[in-house]
Amino acid sequence: MELFMKPSEVKLALHLWNRGHWKDYIFSQGMLFTASLLLVFFLTIGLGVQNLLDRFLSNDLPAEQVRVTPAGLQAGFFQTETGGMEITEEIKNELESSPLVERVDPQIYAHVPALLRGQLGGQPYYTDITLEGVTGEFLGDSLLKDIDWSYMLEDSSSSFLPIILSENLLILYNAGFAESNDLLGLTPEGVLGTECIVTLGRSSIANLDHPPVTVRARIEATSRNMNLFAIGVPFEFVDEMNSMFLPDDTRRYSALVLTAKTAEDVPEIVRAVEETGLRAETRRGIAQKAEILVGAVTAALAALAAAILLSALSSAIHTLVADLKNRRFALGVLMALGTPHNRLAMIFAFQIFFMSFVTMVLGAALGCIFSWGASSALLSLSPVLRASVDSLAVFPATWLATGIGVMLATSTGAAYIFFGRILKTPVTRLLRP
């Protein structure tokens, strides 16, 4: 007698074995199908959401840098919270003199209304803007290797005002303005080299008595570190414009980016900054906040998936075991008639393990299709999402294979343990009514 059976023999054996029990068998397989479908759906969508949050919350702030900002939110000449601590020249000097600080890169808003005009997709457009001056040192050599980041008004006749855009601003543009005006979306690569006209002293909501200043500008780079509400331009140009339009105002910085001598000094610097009433952000701090948010969303999705998975799995295990329990007698008959254990084990391995595997792979495939469909539907409904990610579903092959493997091992393992116990039971006991 050979251990392995021919496919036709296995087919006939399963056909006879399952006669009258197909309903139970299909039900148990249906449970496994549902379990794998739900697992894959929630896993792929959960990871996709995590990916999306990571995309929104990530930052490129180096480990040794601290971003110092006023406690209230300030965008150009708008201040959402008054009475907060402002970043003055004295504070900047004080921080610069700290032995822990290697360098201070100041950032400054243009406290004058500004208007930007240009052509987008052949269509004229204009928009009010806020300019923020940043230093070349802050932007770094890699970003500025092909850009001349020095610009004063006297250069306006011979060169363009260089602009660095926030990538998140592009996302907002794509998701809102472009969507509602039927304009083409913009990619970071696509906007490079775009030329426009920037007018200071004029906007659609405010005009100053001082004659306006108009310069030609060009988008030279994009960055994820830039202020979302402002367009980055050379620091000295903004400083020059503030002095020209508001000569009586003292210089106030929108932010200071401190570079610590070592990353270990960062906590000490943060403490010192916070003692002054200013806000200090570090990569670790931002990452921690992001981690908490992403972790909470992931945990919620995982808990939901686990709850559904556990109930589906327990139903599948219960059904598989109940099916075997009901058929102890039939197994006893087969054993009494001389069917060897290894043959029975092989047939049940096929029925329980192989068929369950096929069922779960099919369930997983449908889960992938569902999550892909859900992702497509959500992206088509939300321009913000569409502008941020290509897909809301992530399909990590290793995770999916592991998930299905664990489910397969759990459900069929439980059934197989029970099956093994039946095989060890004396035939006379199995045949007992």
């Binding site: 007698m1 050979e2 059976m5 023999e9 006939l12 054996a13 006879l16 006669r19 009258g20 029990h21 007698f329 039939a330 006893g332 008959v333 087969l334 054993m335 009494a336 008639l337 001389g338 069917t339 060897p340 254990h341 290894n342 043959r343 029975l344 047939i347 004396p426 035939v427 006379t428 045949l431 009514p433």
Partner: protein, 220 residues
């Protein structure tokens, strides 16, 4: 030459001794009838001889093999190749047809299915069992009993153990069944060990043994 040798077989359930030092030799081709009062252990004896009950003392040798020294897979081979069994309650799978029940051991053991089908067809026909798609749950008790007999014979065993094989049959059917068993026994030379109560059938046996007080006693 003995196909079965049972030496000093004892079996007890809890504190009750059912078989006590039982000895038995069964020759090839003989019809051995076992009789005895209800509850004396006839079915237990058949379960031991059929290697279904292994929890006994003593030695059982079937086809020159000491069953106490065989592994589960060797026991399975022994059951399949040497022993046929007709259970008192038939033990058919109710959702299968007569033919499917008969060939079931062959299907699961990887024997010659074509041969088994033909042979099963012959036996079922001789036993007047209809060969169609009717599940055995819908057959009469007599028909089911004949299907059980056919299943016991399909592997051409050396020993057929039958626990009251004619219990559900009328006198005429009982005679027909034993006529057939006699014919097949002569053709295939298998030993028939049957628990029998009918006096008519007892007269057909080569030997009649009464199970009493845990041992077998030959009767005239």
């Amino acid at each position: 030459m003995s196909i079965i040798e049972a030496r000093n077989i004892s079996r007890s359930f809890d504190d009750m001794n059912v078989l006590s030092g039982l000895n038995l030799d069964v020759r090839k081709g003989e019809f051995l009838a076992i009789t005895g009062k209800s509850g004396v252990g006839k079915s237990t004896l058949l379960a031991i001889l059929g290697t279904h009950d292994l929890n006994h003392d003593g030695t059982l040798i079937v086809a020159d093999k000491d069953t106490g020294k065989l592994s589960s897979s060797e026991l399975a081979v022994l059951r399949r190749e040497y022993l046929g069994f007709v259970f008192q309650d038939f033990h058919l799978l109710p959702s299968l047809t007569a033919m499917e029940n008969v060939i079931l051991p062959v299907v699961f053991s990887g024997g010659n299915l074509e041969y088994a089908r033909n042979h099963a067809g012959e036996v079922l026909e001789k036993l007047s069992v209809r060969i169609d798609d009717t599940p055995t749950s819908l057959l009469s008790r007599g028909e089911r009993q004949r299907v059980a007999v056919a299943r016991g014979l399909v592997n051409k065993p050396s020993v057929l153990l039958a626990d009251e094989p004619s219990a559900s049959l009328d006198e005429e059917s009982e005679q027909t069944l034993f006529d057939l068993l006699d014919d097949l026994r002569k053709q295939q030379n298998f030993a028939l060990i049957a628990v029998v109560h009918s006096t008519v059938i007892l007269h057909r046996a080569d030997r009649v043994l009464e199970l009493k007080d845990g041992t077998l006693h030959e009767t005239v």
